[in-house]
Amino acid sequence: MSTTLSASTPTTLTSPRMSAELSLRIYDLMLRARVLEERLISMYKQGEGYFWIGGPGEEAFNVPLGLLVDKGQGVDHDYMHLHYRSSGTLLALGADPIDSLRQMRNVSTDPYSRGRNFAGHYSVRAWNVVPVSSPIEVQFSMAIGTARAQRKGTGAKGITIVQGGDAGSAEGDFATALVWSSRKGHELPLLMLVTNNRWGISTAYEGQHGYSQIADRGKAFGMPTAVVDGNDPEASYAALHKAIDYVRTEKKPYLLEAMVSRLRGHSSASGANIVKGEVDCVERYEQTLEARKLKTRGECDELRARYAQELLDASKRIANEPAPEPSTIWDHVFADKNLVGGE
């Protein structure tokens, strides 16, 4: 029932060679995502935003995720309960990076939170991307609900995907998702993703967990589990493809753990500077593509420079977009007539 691709083994070799077209598409999105995060970090450092948190180091896993989901609104498409490192997934879904810059600037044109929430806190109802909530792991308790709306017998075509970090799996909500999704005879079409960067802010993975892999926790619940090298986009694509197919056809849960990097530390609170000794999935994939003669170093550099310039221009374009009006704090407390207190 349980497959394990160890994070150490060179899974690129074991996984079937991907088409050149798809490889290049994935690379392009990984690069766009990386450049977006770098722009957001510079904006933070230049005082154009108050706080940065994001996904440099998770692109090789999050981009394939965005490419593989069934995008759309409602139960016939996939629900995504993501956390705050999902820029790669959003870009792969087709999000315009300028909107991330807007959220970083907390301007009223920010489509994700109207200047209310931190960078990386996406919300796109049209694509079933539920609002990213800062409290760690609550998405695992909410995901069982969208998954139930898609359970076997409903005829719904979509599945639910929930993603969180390694440290967050210590919260009871992670166990809630395991327990509720695997109830015998009531299994839920829920794909649980743990992006394991071996850190929770400053706290190392070592010494905080009793199992070697978080994915092991799924085994007692009788669900398939896997661990994948999240720095390898092709292995990640294959592992996600397999997991999503299983959940969609079986309408049952699956737990997939991806070993990823944290290239800029936890957030701007820890400086957002480059961290040494972590695998850079974009660089590594560029080397793969060079080896396969699909890209040259020069093309990669040129592409990176172009995307960087585009985002710099974009950040200038939005420089004068208005901040939200103070009175807007009262908007959307309720979905209907906005009646706070009593009138």
């Binding site: 409602g74 909530s133 308790s141 909410m142 969208t146 407390v333």
Partner: protein
């Protein structure tokens, strides 16, 4: 006449047959029990969850996000305090997403003392609930209001908390408060919709031809008109206050009793009208008295109607202690009782500036 718990069950039936309710769930909510207070017996969408309140609330939020209409129950509000963060999330997703998403869920939970529930079957939830922005909060004191408020809650596009006053669940409707479509005769109704004792595998309810009836969220009800003192209350304390007021009428004290019914949003117009008439205010509820919703009402009344007041406004609420003791004496001393309400009304009425 139907009891409040039967009224709730009938509203849930109307909800799942005519108003799109897809899931009614919680611990022991489904067959065979149908709820520890029988509120969910015979409902076709009722199911039993694992023993995990965080999962129950999360499940409701997720179902609502997926466009379903979930009604989740927390078996006793005493067991909802490990989910406050999730209730806050349910209340903030619409705001956080700038109106992109909404969370049309109903959470129902029994509250309050009066059944000798000891430390963990006597909690109130009104103070905690009114501290969670983004929620509408209602609490009936009669079967008819329970029916009409629950149907309004089901129709509402926001998270709505339906607080069930435990001690009133078995109290029956009074004349003039018939549930439209429900038979008046207790026996007849019971035979139609109450599950039998013992084996229920072959039992199915026969629902009477119930009609829609809505109590708008945000509108109070004047239970007793009066001119001397305004008693602002809700849930279990409403019939107590009414009885106290009726007894005092003999002594020439004419108290007005208002059942807020909605705690958020609440009916400020009704409160203002009453206070500007009586000039004396008593707030009564069972929740602990430090940082209590009645204190919000008194604070606002003092800020906006200060010169209307001929006497210091008074709060009668639960003692600020860690629990309600099992022994009768202890429970009586911990939450408002009729005699205490009577004394408080009389003192306010007698008070001259």
């Amino acid at each position: 006449m139907p009891s409040m718990i039967q009224a709730i069950r009938m509203a849930l039936h109307v909800g799942e047959t005519r108003h799109g309710v897809t899931d009614i769930f919680g611990e022991d909510v489904g067959p065979p029990l149908g709820g520890v207070f029988t509120g969910t017996q015979g409902l076709k969408t009722a199911w039993n969850t694992p023993l995990d309140e965080r999962g129950i609330v999360g499940m409701a939020i997720g179902l609502a996000l997926a466009g379903q209409k979930p009604i989740a129950e927390i078996q006793f509000c005493d067991y909802a305090f490990n989910t406050i963060d999730l209730l806050k999330v349910a209340g903030n997703l619409c705001w956080a997403s700038g109106g992109d998403w909404n969370v049309p869920m109903v959470l129902m939970t029994p509250v309050g003392a009066g059944i000798r529930g000891s430390m963990y079957h006597s909690h109130s939830f009104d103070a905690q609930a009114t501290r969670i922005p983004g929620w509408k909060i209602v609490m009936p004191s009669t079967p008819l209001d329970a029916y009409g408020l629950l149907l309004s809650a089901i129709k509402d596009p926001n998270p709505v908390m339906f607080l069930m006053p435990k001690a009133l669940l078995r109290v029956k409707s009074k004349a003039g408060e018939e549930i439209p479509g429900a038979p008046l005769d207790d026996k007849v109704l019971g035979q139609l919709i109450d599950a039998p004792l013992g084996d229920r595998t072959s039992w199915a309810p026969q629902w009477p031809p119930l009609e829609d009836y809505y109590v708008p969220i945000g509108k109070a009800r004047v239970v007793r008109e009066g001119t001397h003192v305004s008693v602002l209350s809700y849930g279990r304390n409403v019939p107590m206050a009414l009885a106290a007021a009726d007894e005092l009428a003999a002594d020439g004290v004419d108290a007005e009793v208002i059942d807020l019914r909605s705690l958020h949003p609440y009916d400020w117009d009704a409160i203002t009208a009453s206070v500007t008439k009586t000039h004396r205010v008593l707030c009564v509820n069972e929740d602990t008295e430090i940082t209590n919703f009645g204190e919000h009402l008194i604070r606002r009344i003092c800020e906006e109607l200060f010169y209307e007041l001929y006497a210091p406004p008074k709060l009668l609420a639960g003692a600020a202690i860690p629990g309600i003791g099992l022994a009768d004496h202890l429970e009586m001393a911990s939450v408002p009782q009729k005699d205490g309400i009577k004394t408080a009304i009389a003192e306010l009425a007698a008070h001259e500036p």
